[in-house]
Structure formats: C-alpha cells, structure tokens
C-alpha cells in the first residue's frame, strides 16, 4: 500500500494562543501555520495570495515578531502567542489604524488589508513616528493590486500622527 497522509506526515499536538485564546489541536506536521489558522481555527481574516512567501496577505505577529504565516509550519508555532487581524482591536471597535485605512480609502477589495494592517501595526509599535520611507520599507513585503499603495501610505501616516497608535 502507498503511504498515506498519516504515515507521511504524523500528527502532533500543539498549543497556540491566538488573540488571547489558547487552542490545543492535533495538526499534521506538514500543515502550514496559515492553513492551521484559517482552516482548523476558522480565523479567516488572514489570507493567502501566493505560494511563495511574496505577497504578505497572511502576515501575523508571532511572539511580537511580524511573520508571514505561510512560511512557518503550524508545529513551529507550538507554544507561541499569535496576533491576527481579528485581534488587533477590542470588541467591535476599530483601532486608529483600521479607521484611518477606511478614512483614507486605503483598501478596495480588502484582501491584502489584514496583512497590511499587521505589517503597519508592527511598524507603529516599533516606530510610532515613521517617515514615509520607513512606511514604504515596512510595507515592502505586502502586495496590493487594487490601490497602488499611495492611500495606504497616507493611512499609516495618519495613524502615526499624534502617537498613541
């Protein structure tokens, strides 16, 4: 008999905290973190736009570090604390950054937006008053095909103004 999924890729038990909730799940060793987040936990805010780690739609913050969750296996996140777009605001409120994305029309289809928000959130935590060049560098790993980025730069600048972001 040919090898099966079970023999090729044994399942492992992992514990991951996402947006403050701790999940214990059995995952196949080969499962990508993004598929674990989206398919197993049904947190579908983080998206997938490529197969190669280029697009950044799956960006999340893992133990304080911005990462592309398609470039990690779920088992590598065992024990980690992860933030996704669903967790950056309290309850139904929007963060200043989320609000400025809307105010500045920094999104159209909204598919890249969660990844953009995570990259910008990580930037503003590390650097509350970034220059435009710093904003551009921070978003260089996120592809948007709708906006041309210009309004995204403005939205991040707005969110940075007056600190507090």
């Amino acid at each position: 008999m040919e090898p099966t999924a079970a023999t090729v890729s044994p399942a492992r038990q992992i514990t991951v905290t996402i947006n403050g909730t701790t999940y214990e799940r059995e995952v196949e060793a080969r499962k990508l973190l993004i598929h674990f987040i989206r398919d197993d936990l049904d947190l579908t805010g983080s998206h997938i736009g490529c197969d190669t780690g280029n697009c950044g739609a799956c960006s999340v913050i893992v133990d304080g570090t911005l990462l592309k969750s398609c470039m990690l296996l779920a088992v590598q996140a065992d024990g980690a604390s992860i933030e996704t777009v669903e967790g950056i605001a309290d309850d139904d409120e929007l963060t200043k950054l989320q609000q400025s994305f809307s105010d500045r029309h920094a999104l159209q289809c909204g598919y890249c937006t969660p990844g953009m928000l995570m990259s910008a959130t990580a930037l503003l935590r590390a650097n509350p008053q970034p220059t435009e060049e710093e904003i551009r560098k921070a978003l260089q790993g996120n592809i948007c095909r709708c906006t041309g980025y210009w309004n995204i730069f403005e939205a991040v600048k707005d969110a940075a103004d007056g600190a507090g972001a």
Partner: protein, 827 residues
C-alpha cells in the same frame, strides 16, 4: 444613437424637481464595506466551509503541446482519504463542449472542462483529484500517471500561420481562429492627400494580466433532490458563466445558483473560471460531497486569463505637413493562447475605440486571431481597447518623433474637440462627452511641463537621461453586446442590462439588492448614496446586501461586474428601482394622509404633506402597513414597496456588414503624464513624477473614483516596466509566481498627482460614466517618456509595451535595431 434614458415612475416629477438638493451623491461617503474588511470579517470564497467537503487539486500538463496517450488514476484513488478523481474522458461523457462564439475555424474547437486527448499549454488541467485535505489532494495528484507524446509547440503567434507550424486544433484545421477586415472612410483618398506617410513595421503589445491577489475558487454543493448546484465562487460575471455552463452541463440555468460575497480583486481575470466550476459541479455530484477549489498562485499564472498579446504589422499613417492625421492602416495579429474562452468577442472590442481620441476618419485594420500553446487569454482590465489605444498612442508619438513635431501639439491638433461632442466615430460609435485638450492642459500643468527643459538639463548634469511622455486613453463603458454579431452574425446577443431591487420592510428597513459582483469598487456605498438621495434619508438607513446571489432575483443575463459600467448600469438600475419605490411610498401616503400625491414629499425618512411637516407618515409605518397591516387598503392600490427595475441602455443592433454602430454608451477619458530618468550605463530607470487626470462624468463618490484611478495607474506602471508572462521556445512559462512576475511593491511607487474634470454623460440616468479601466494610459505614457529620453542617444523607437531595464539598455546600445522599424515617405 442613444438618448438620455428616462425612468418611468409613478410620480417622477415630484421626486426629481422638489427633493432637497443632493446630499449624498458627489460626497466622499465612507465605504460601508470597510468595517468588515479591516476587521478581517469579510467572506471570501476560501472562507466558505462545509462539513465533509473535499479539496480539489488539478493535475496539470507539463508540456505545451502533446498527445495524451494514457491516464491512470488508480494509485491516487487507492490512498486513504482520497475521495475520487475526474478525467477528461468522464467530462466528455457527462458534458458537451462549451459553446463557441466564433465562426469557423474557431467554431470547430471542442473545449471541455478538462483536457481530452491532447494538451495545448503548460498548466492545462488534465485530471482533478479530490481528498480530505488540501495537502493530501496535492500529494495524491503526484500519483496520477499521465503519459504524453510531446508535439512541437508554438509560442510565437508570428509562427502560427507558417506552413510547417503544428496545428493546435485539428478540428479547426488551422491556427487562425477568426479573422476580419475593418475598414471605414476612404483610405486611398487619405493616403493620396497625405504629405507624408509614416511606416512602422512592427509593434508588440505584451502578455500580462492584473493578477488579483485572491486567486480563483469555488465551494460547490449539489442537491440530489432538486438536481441543483449551489456555487459559492468569486467568478465576477456569473451571467456569462451560467450561459457557458448550463448548455455544456445539459441543465437549465435554474439548476445553477451562484453566490458571492467578497471578492479579492478581479479586473476581468475572474470571468472565465467556468471550466473549473464545471469540474467542481461534476465532482460534487459524483462524489456526493461539497467540493472546495482554491487555485494556487502558480496555477493562476500558468493557466488563467492572460491579457491579449497583440502584434501590429505594416502600419502606415497618412499625415499632413502640419501634423494633421488623416488615417492609418495596420494588421493586428492577436495571440489568443490555446483556447477561445471569451474570444474572439473580447479581442475585437478594440472597435469601441477605433480612432482613439483623434479625429482621423480613414482607418483600416486587418484583424487575425491565432491559437498558440500558451494559456488562454481572457478579459483583463482595459480588455482589447488598451492594446489598441496603446497602438494609437504609439503611432502619435512615433509620428511626432519621426517628423520632429511636438507630441503635445500633435495631440491638440488631432484630438476630438469638446464642441464636437457627442462625436460619431468613423465606425458609428458615439463618444458621449469630454474635453481631451483641457485634460491635457491639466496634466501638463501638474507635471510641470513649462519647466521640463530645465529638469532635463538638471538630469543630464547628474548623468541621467530625462524623458517625459503623455498617454491619453479612453475607458469605454456599458458595452453593447450586439458587437458579438460582427464576429458571428448568428449570435443572438445585443444590448446590455442590469437589475436592482429596493424594498421597504416591516420595520422601515430599506434593503437594496444588486445584480453585480463587486471586487472592491464600493458598490454597497455608492448604491446607498443614490438611494438616500432619492428617498431623502441617510445612507446609514440604506442596507445594501453584500455580494450576489442568483436566488435574489436581482440579476439578468449580463449581470456582473466587468467592463466599466456600474455607475451606469448598476446605479441606473438602483435609481430606477428607488424611483419606483418613492412613487409607491407617495401613493400609499396619499391614501393614508388623504392628500393628493402631488402635495406630498419625501423628507427625513417620512412621506409628508408639503408645508405641513407634522402630517407625516414614517417609512416604518409604510412598511408595516403594506407588509403586516393591510386590511382595508384599496383593492387596486398596486403598492408592494418591493420594487425591481431592469436598466437597459438604448442600443441598436450594429450593421454587421459595415461593422458600424454604437458599441458602448459612455466614454470616460484619461490623460496621464510620466517623467522618467534613465541611467544610460545600464538602462535602469525610475518613474520620477507621475500625473493622472480623469474624466468619468459625474462622480458619485470622488474618493472611490480616485482610488480606481490610482489602482489602474499602478497596474499600468507594473505592466509598462516589469510584468510579463514570458514563454520560452518550448512553451514553458518563465514567470509563474510573484518572484519572477514582478508586480509593483511599496518602494516602486512614484510620486503621484491626480486631477480631474467632470463632463457629464448626456446618455446616462445620473450623468455618470463607467470607469476604472483607464490605466492603460500609464503604459502609453511610460513608453512615450522612454522614447523621449532616448532621443539624444540614437533615437530608438519604443516598439514594445513592456520595457524592463534590459530592453532599454538594448535600445541605448543598438538604436539602429528599432530605427529599422520606421520609415518616412515624403510625398
């Protein structure tokens, strides 16, 4: 010729003339869509899950052209967790080939949802494998054994008509799929009158597409009791998918329910997923479980919706000594790829913009579309008109270059003038309104035209070559499907339509459903703005359902979101339905308030007696009375408060013999200007300044319009500089992912200024024009700017629409190679 459409309503005059000044249209109303999207609560197709669903993975052809000699799925099917497979032979037994739009030879293509007997491009789906996880489906696909007998491929359209060229489709007997001659005016007279004839041997518009960040996908369920499929998908033109799928699957359209919510970008590229949707439908029925398909990025690049690649050969332009352009003739060779999935209909819609923005009246274009061993072409933002308008803009700039004329002056001399609007083109299209010269002035002012020589010297001092280029272009919108008859007189398509319903529910909820499938264009917001203005309420009180569902009964044959039309067809339908509802509210108000309808007005969410605001009936009461408390109402009241309207632009069927008629209702226009600086040592260059000026008539939401302008510009910059689907001689795609296919990133974006003018369309209900596809201007502008910059270094002609650094370097090193492409004949 089209005329202004008036909407029949019960009491239109009162609403139109006495409603308060427009409050919402024209404002930057924040988008209703945004909150869910910034919270990560949108519902995109891959977010839809069902219990027990199986994941599809496609086994794809590794060859560009080959016979399939055998397929063995047994090893894959033996794996635990694999639910089943589907092959081309099964597809051929269960379905008929997709209907072809073309006359012969293209009409003879037998296009099935999976390859049958032969493969014709790398990445063509051959077998579908379904398993309980994505990963297992992919692994099991490796165990499917397909044997091929490779054939010689064609990866260059110019080879397709060689006597020795292999034939892709034996049934067609030729690689020519469709050809036609388009000729208007008097070419002989124009060339006899010309003082100079500029000849251009070859121009090439390259192959790329808009690469929406979300790839294609579907979640398909089959209901065995009703024999109906529910297709959750991001297909952006369900009306087209349905008429392709129904006959092929031998079922009525009522058996195909299409549902979308949020779509992660489309740009036309998500129109022709019907083959994959058929595979999912067949598998859902065969395997008795929901079927999930999410396309991989690599698969999208390999197989979906490439933009039309086009060659222009033996162009001749008739020019007067003063720069007046009389006409041109050219031979367009269109590379359709391996299948005609929306062709040749899409390929020929350049005729909507035959003369571009110019007054020349004598035009001949010999159009030939051929099949090659590449991915099939399909709609892509600017579809076919972009190729043609790039050609006309190249002609303008090459003529100016060769005759030493100022490209700005040539444009101004030859632009169609504002006082000539509405302007009938040589082929019967009617440009509705516009002022191109004024747009150019705005663009030149913003780009700093008057100081450009100083900038040129400054760049030279830094060792750089500076060039400036103009790109002017049209975004024809609300197409007349009657143009399909010019490729095939038997086709029974003409006109266009779109649907909306607006209702007032029991608690006064205003609920709008659209037939469209937006992918980021903000339809929920702009529809609410139009409704709120007519009903004199707040946009916050208007609930526009997200997405599309063919169960809503708010769709028609051409429903979808494509071809720059929502502001006309979609909002025309919304306006029509809302006008009907406003009339019904007044009719009911008349009965309840005991006053004639003429004495009533809608204000502050009520219907009330003018001058007596306390005599008011809130919308909530109206909804409650009709829906739940209607005893005693007059028998013939005729009020449902649930109004459906089909907007139908006024079109005639074109004259098929002359290829003459109005092919689109509106013509938005764009004038872009680009400044580039080239490093003469390497050919590397930067776009250092950029201006985009837009005119799309009345703007319902200026911020959304500007967002479309920006996005289209960014795509054009990507296409002009780097993005291309490159095939090697064996037919392998060399750019199958975002490593090799370089789309613009944050650091690539030049400084951008936008400008606009508003030339209201006289032909549309709201004075709007469809827009969003005008980005082609950016390709034209960058090509022109590069050519301008190279003027002092041998005067190379920019002959290709994509100019990565190596191509610019080649033009610097060997200007003579492109100089050979042009010739001026003095008369």
């Amino acid at each position: 010729m089209s005329t202004t459409t008036t909407t029949p309503t019960i009491a239109p005059d009162v609403v139109e003339t006495e409603a308060p000044a427009k409050q919402w249209s024209g404002q930057n109303v924040p988008r209703k869509e945004d909150k869910r999207l910034v919270q990560g609560q949108g519902v995109f197709v891959d977010d839809v899950k069902r219990h027990g669903m199986g994941f599809v993975h496609f086994v794809r052809s590794p060859f560009a052209h080959a016979h399939i000699t055998s397929i063995d799925v047994s090893k894959a099917e033996e794996i635990g967790g694999v639910y089943g497979t589907l092959t081309g032979e099964e597809v051929a037994s269960l379905t008929d080939p997709f209907f072809q739009l073309s006359t012969p030879p293209g009409a003879h293509l037998e296009d099935y949802a999976l390859a049958l007997g032969k493969v014709r491009f790398v990445g063509e789906p051959v077998v579908a494998v379904v398993a309980e996880t994505r990963e297992l489906a992919r692994d099991a696909s490796e165990l499917v054994e397909v044997e091929y007998e490779p054939l010689d491929p064609i990866s260059d359209a110019r080879r397709a008509q060689d006597g020795q060229a292999p034939i892709l489709h034996e049934a067609a007997g030729s690689n020519v799929m469709w050809e036609g001659v388009y000729e208007w005016g008097d070419l002989d007279a124009a060339f006899a009158e010309a003082d100079r004839i500029v000849k251009i041997k070859e121009l090439h518009f390259h192959r790329f597409n808009s690469t929406p960040l979300e790839c294609d996908g579907a979640l398909v369920e089959y209901n065995r009791g009703t024999a109906q499929w529910t297709i959750h998908t991001n297909n952006q033109f369900p009306g087209f998918a349905a008429i392709m799928m129904g006959p092929a699957m031998r079922c009525g359209l009522d058996k195909l329910r299409f549902v979308t919510q949020d779509i992660g970008g489309g740009f036309g590229n998500k129109i022709t997923s019907h083959p994959q949707l058929v595979v999912c439908c067949l598998l859902a029925r065969k395997l008795r479980r929901p079927i999930q398909w999410t396309e991989w990025r690599t698969d999208f690049h390999l197989s979906m919706s490439h933009g039309n690649e086009r060659w222009f050969h033996d162009t001749e332009v008739a020019v007067k000594a003063d720069g007046t352009l009389l006409g041109f003739r050219t031979k367009a060779l269109d590379d359709a790829g391996a299948w005609l999935r929306y062709e040749p209909l899409g390929g020929v819609i350049w005729a909507q913009v035959t003369p571009g923005m110019y007054r020349w009246r004598h035009i001949r274009l010999d159009f030939t579309q051929v099949a090659t061993n590449k991915a099939p072409v399909s709609p892509n933002r600017g579809y076919s008109r972009m190729q043609h308008l790039w050609f006309t803009e190249r002609v303008i700039d090459i003529v100016a270059h060769e005759l030493d004329l100022d490209p700005v002056e040539v444009r101004k001399r030859n632009y169609i003038r504002a006082d000539e609007m509405p302007y009938e083109t040589p082929n019967g299209c009617v440009y509705d309104s516009g002022d191109y010269a004024k747009m150019l002035d705005v663009a030149l002012d913003l780009i700093g035209w008057s100081g450009i020589d100083e900038r040129r010297r400054d760049a030279e001092a830094r060792g750089k070559l500076l060039g400036v280029g103009i790109g002017s272009t049209l975004d024809s919108g609300t197409n007349n499907f009657g143009q399909s008859r010019m490729i095939n007189p038997e086709l029974q398509f003409s006109g266009n339509n779109e649907v909306a319903t607006v209702k007032l529910d029991i608690f006064g909820e205003i609920v709008v459903t659209l037939g469209t499938t937006p992918q980021g264009q903000g339809h929920e917001t702009t529809a609410a703005q139009v409704v709120a203005d007519i009903l004199s309420c707040s946009v916050d009180d208007v609930h526009v359902r997200a997405g599309h569902d063919s169960y809503w009964n708010s769709h028609a044959g051409f429903s979808g979101t494509y071809a720059s039309q929502f502001a006309v067809t979609g909002l025309g339908a919304v306006k029509g339905a809302t006008d009907l509802l406003a009339g019904e509210i007044k009719k009911l108000g008349s009965v309840i308030l005991g006053a004639p309808e003429e004495a009533l007005e809608l204000a502050e969410g009520t219907v009330r007696i003018k001058g007596t605001p306390e005599a008011a009936l809130p919308f909530m009461a109206c909804g409650a009375i009709i829906n739940a408390n209607n005893a005693g109402l007059p028998e013939d009241l005729g009020v449902t408060l649930n109004c459906r309207y089909v907007y139908r632009p006024q079109f005639e069927v074109p004259d098929v013999e002359r290829k003459f008629g109005n092919l689109t209702l509106t013509y938005a226009a764009q004038v872009h200007a680009a400044v580039v600086e080239i490093d003469p040592e390497t050919g590397a260059y930067d776009v250092v300044d950029y201006v985009a000026v837009d005119d799309c008539g009345k703007r319902i939401n200026p911020q959304i319009v500007e967002g479309q302008v920006m996005g289209a510009t960014a795509q054009a910059l990507g296409a002009a500089t780097h993005e291309q689907f490159v095939y090697d001689e064996d037919g392998n795609l060399l750019t199958p992912n975002f490593y090799d296919y370089h789309v613009p990133h944050a650091l690539d974006m030049p400084p951008l200024q936008t400008g606009y003018i508003e030339s209201a369309s006289p032909f549309t209900p709201l004075g709007t024009k469809g827009m969003g596809e005008g980005g082609g201007a950016g390709i034209h502008a960058v090509c022109a700017a590069i050519q301008d910059a190279l003027r002092s270094r041998g005067g190379a002609i920019v002959w290709d629409s994509c100019n990565p650094y190596h191509r610019v370097w080649e033009m610097l090193e060997h200007p003579e190679r492109t100089r050979e492409l042009v010739e001026v004949v003095e008369r």
